[in-house]
Amino acid sequence: MTTVSEIMSRDVQTVAPEDTLQKAAQCLRDCDVGSLPVSSGTRLLGMVTDRDITVRAVAEGLDPSQACVSDVMSQQVQSCSADADIESVMRQMGDAQLRRMPVVNSNQELVGIVALADLALKSGRHIDETVREISQPN
């Protein structure tokens, strides 16, 4: 069994709920990722994505230099445990149509992030089913 801790990234860039959307957008750009965990200290509060900023802020006419991450982030986020089996995590990511998922410890503290790219590159297992689920139109 391969566990999430074997393939996850431990050095996780996060944003704070009070950060402006402009700052979050700069982090998404500079980290070259499409989603970032939102945390207060080590506590995971949510996730914010390119898409959240586009459809919840820009489409709604919010000012990105004033509106903050907590205004647009998703709060009910999927996460997994570092000792979870990657096969179950792949199913979970497929069901939730996620490409990046935060990893938490038993205290719900953020300890890493796992990406579909990590699974594809390091697991050496079939990801066809996950791919198909993630790629389905909603």
């Binding site: 070259d32 390119d50 820009v58 489409a59 790219a117 066809d128 198909r132």
Partner: protein, 160 residues
């Protein structure tokens, strides 16, 4: 897996695509992406593709840069020189192109180079097309996508 011999991009693509004008504001583009539940829209003049605008472009080229979405035109921040599939391309050709340019969503052109549809990795995955997993692996490999901004030019009909 079912056989897909002979299937073309034209048979699997989504028709009647919604396109932006180069003069449309980024704010309008964001509203359309929200309503249509898509992450990318082609930018066209007379159905000739001038570029592609994604939710990623809006985040990194408009919001991160401090531009005002209401007064920024799509033409100023879109990705130009968009790679396009052709209707008669095979599924294998479309997959190869998606893997090469690391894009999940390609505009589809007819023989007159006019936009007639959109083909996505999801369209191909829904058909249980062999090769999808390999393409996703290519797309997901950490590297900058091949969406370099270049001087405006006619869209490339790759694999022509």
């Amino acid at each position: 897996m079912k056989t897909i011999d002979g299937q073309t991009v034209g048979q699997l693509m989504t028709r009647e695509p919604v396109a932006l004008s180069p003069h449309d504001s980024v704010a309008l583009a964001a509203r359309l992406m929200d309503e249509l539940n898509v992450g990318a829209l082609p930018v066209c003049e007379n159905w000739e593709v001038r570029g592609l605008l994604t939710d990623r472009d809006i985040t990194v080229r408009v919001i991160a840069a401090g531009l005002d979405p209401a007064t920024t035109a799509t033409a100023d921040v879109m990705t130009e020189r968009v790679r396009c599939a052709l209707m008669h391309h095979s599924v294998a050709e479309a997959l190869a192109l998606m893997g090469t340019v690391r894009i999940r969503r390609l505009p589809v052109l007819d023989d007159q180079q006019r936009l007639v549809g959109i083909i996505t990795l999801g369209d191909l995955a829904a058909q249980a097309v062999p090769g999808v997993a390999e393409t996703l692996r290519d797309i997901s490999t950490p590297a900058a996508p091949d969406r370099s901004i270049a001087p405006a030019a006619a869209p490339e009909a790759a694999l022509a």
